[in-house]
């Protein structure tokens, strides 16, 4: 309510309409409540699956619809289940290598692209967007078709080689798209200055440009890893010879007895791990800023 100050009774309390605005206090309140509900619903919707996964991971019963007792044996069991462990190992292997390779290549490609003229740049950016926007299944099939044509030369080509190539294929555009904006913001004189100081072009690239676009490279790398680690459709079509990644393993085992709760345990662990990593990177960044400010 309006504060009571001495002499207030003499004056009329103005309404919002007197100032030329519309009275919306009630609508605003309703809207705020509505918004709160929507946000809670959204968070609920996003978190209920991983919460369920967490519950399954501590469930002693293998029948997914019954809860037995709380147990942590599935966490210990992750390393027992041979095929799951292999699938996890394969996934980590492919994701890390694909991320590293596409980060390096992507950065170099982005630098090359930033130097092109308008027409060529638009041409290659259009091509670059294809793996990004193309339906997973179309990309996967396309890659499978073209790798299949190589089977005559390399009969056992399918496997980790094809999956790695496929992952590099769809992660490169993410890196390129993360790095390019940072390149655009770069001060063009930095490079010239470095050359003037006698440093050759490629070392200049390494010492001057790369550090300046570090943020872009880093975010591209994270994005690439995320997309690669969770990939299903493209990996499904481009794998072979027994090389399964985690998503394929889950898909083939879904609804069967062999979807051991260990995979739920693993997934919960990964989620917790990411959470911890996030907190740590934030704390570190906070500490760095603290040091910089003092």
């Amino acid at each position: 309510m309006i504060k009571q100050y001495p002499g207030y009774e003499q004056y009329e309390v103005a309404n919002i309409e007197d100032y030329g605005y519309k009275e919306h206090r009630l609508t605003k309140k309703i809207f705020k409540v509505f918004r709160a509900i929507v946000i809670i619903f959204a968070v609920f919707l996003m978190y209920i699956p991983i919460f369920t996964i967490f519950l399954q991971s501590i469930n002693s019963s293998t029948i997914t619809s019954e809860f037995g007792q709380i147990t942590f044996k599935w966490y210990a069991n992750i390393f027992d289940k041979g095929s799951l462990l292999t699938a996890i190992r394969n996934t980590v292997f492919i994701s890390i290598w694909a991320t590293l390779i596409s980060t390096v290549l992507g950065t170099l490609f982005a630098i090359g692209i930033s130097t092109l003229e308008r027409k060529a740049k638009r041409h290659i950016m259009l091509l670059n967007n294809i793996p990004l926007l193309n339906a997973d299944i179309v990309s996967g099939i396309g890659l499978m078709l073209i790798f299949s044509s190589l089977i005559h030369i390399f009969p056992y080509f399918f496997g980790w080689r094809t999956m790695l190539l496929a992952h590099i294929f769809f992660t490169l555009p993410y890196v390129v798209l993360s790095v390019l904006p940072k390149l655009r913001e770069l001060d063009p004189n930095l490079f010239e200055a470095s050359l003037d100081l006698g440093v050759k072009p490629y070392p200049s690239l390494y010492k001057v440009i790369i550090p300046a676009i570090k943020a872009g490279i880093f975010s591209g790398m994270i994005l690439a890893f995320t997309m690669s680690f969770d990939d299903f459709v493209i990996s499904y079509y481009t794998t072979g010879n027994g090389f399964d990644n985690l998503s394929i393993w889950i898909y083939s085992s879904m609804g069967r007895k062999s979807l051991s709760p260990s995979v739920y345990a693993f997934s919960t662990l990964v989620t917790i791990l990411f959470f911890i990593l996030l907190i740590i990177t934030n704390l570190l960044r906070g500490r760095k800023q603290y040091h910089e400010n003092h």
Partner: protein, 277 residues
């Protein structure tokens, strides 16, 4: 910088042509022949496959895909914007951290999350079991319905929308907001006249990131729809399972053309190529 590094882009051209364009050509060729798999020795040129495009199940699958994708995208826009804006406007010290925690579920395996959702949507599942032990009896039975698929699509792809809109909101120069307030706009008017238009890029790129996977995915409709709901991705997958590369490629080509059209439209809308990130 120009003259030294132009050559760096050339390998990328080659790579993209080989892995993106050539498969497209192969798929177009496959659409016009009738052969088995990739064995072209007995291939016959035919237009039969095109006749298949008009069968009712294909048309319905296409319509379904569009329908689900549009609904999911619109819902994501509304919900996602509210969430992103709420965080943006909040007083948390480290908003980015809060937002990343919010989209943390994005980092667990998508198939597991979908399977978990499916379990919840059936009457007998682990949560109802626990709740019933506590004396609360609720149950849902929506597995296999369109609602289930849409909820699944939203749950999976909304983090992309939130991230996208939040990034766009962050880029808005605060002085613009201050100017709007100084000029006498109310909070609401300021939102609709200043903030919302400036965040459109985020909405567009978020929509693309939600719409395309929704339209073409097959895992979510297959699992949550319990086999009843067919999206075009399911149909393509079926054909490839049955070794009918011809029909599968034909449908894939059609989807690809639609997507290329969308990319082209987007590039006209945003000349700098900044829309996607």
């Amino acid at each position: 910088m120009n003259k030294y590094f132009k050559k760096l882009a050339i390998p990328y051209f080659v790579w993209l042509y080989v892995l993106a364009i050539i498969p497209f050509v192969i798929m177009v060729i496959l659409s016009f022949v009738n052969n088995e798999g990739l064995d072209f020795s007995k291939a016959i040129f035919t237009l039969d496959n095109f006749g298949y495009l008009t069968t009712s199940s294909t048309v319905i699958a296409f319509m379904n895909s569009l329908f689900y994708a549009v609904i999911a995208t619109l819902t994501c826009i509304v919900i996602g914007y509210m969430v992103a804006y709420a965080i943006f406007r909040s007083h948390f010290k480290n908003k980015f951290l809060v937002m990343t925690i919010l989209i943390l579920p994005m980092w667990s395996n998508m198939l597991l999350r979908i399977e978990a959702l499916k379990n919840i949507m059936e009457p007998h599942n682990i949560i109802t079991d626990i709740l019933s032990k506590l004396g609360i009896h609720v149950s849902l039975d929506i597995a296999g319905t369109p609602l289930a698929v849409i909820i699944g699509l939203i749950s999976t792809y909304i983090p992309f929308m939130i991230l996208s809109i939040y990034t766009a909101l962050e880029k808005i120069d605060y002085s613009l907001e201050e100017a709007a307030l100084d000029l006498g706009l109310t909070e609401t008017k300021k939102f609709w006249k200043v903030i919302f238009p400036l965040s459109t890029k985020g909405i567009v790129s978020g929509s693309i990131m939600v719409f395309l996977p929704c339209m073409s995915g097959f895992a979510i409709p297959e699992i949550l729809g319990q086999g009843n709901i067919l999206l075009i991705g399911n149909v393509i997958d079926q054909h490839f399972r049955n070794m009918n590369y011809n029909l599968g490629s034909l449908l894939a080509v059609v989807i690809l053309i639609i997507i290329l059209g969308a990319i082209f439209l987007v590039s006209k809308f945003d000349k700098e190529g900044e829309t996607l990130l």
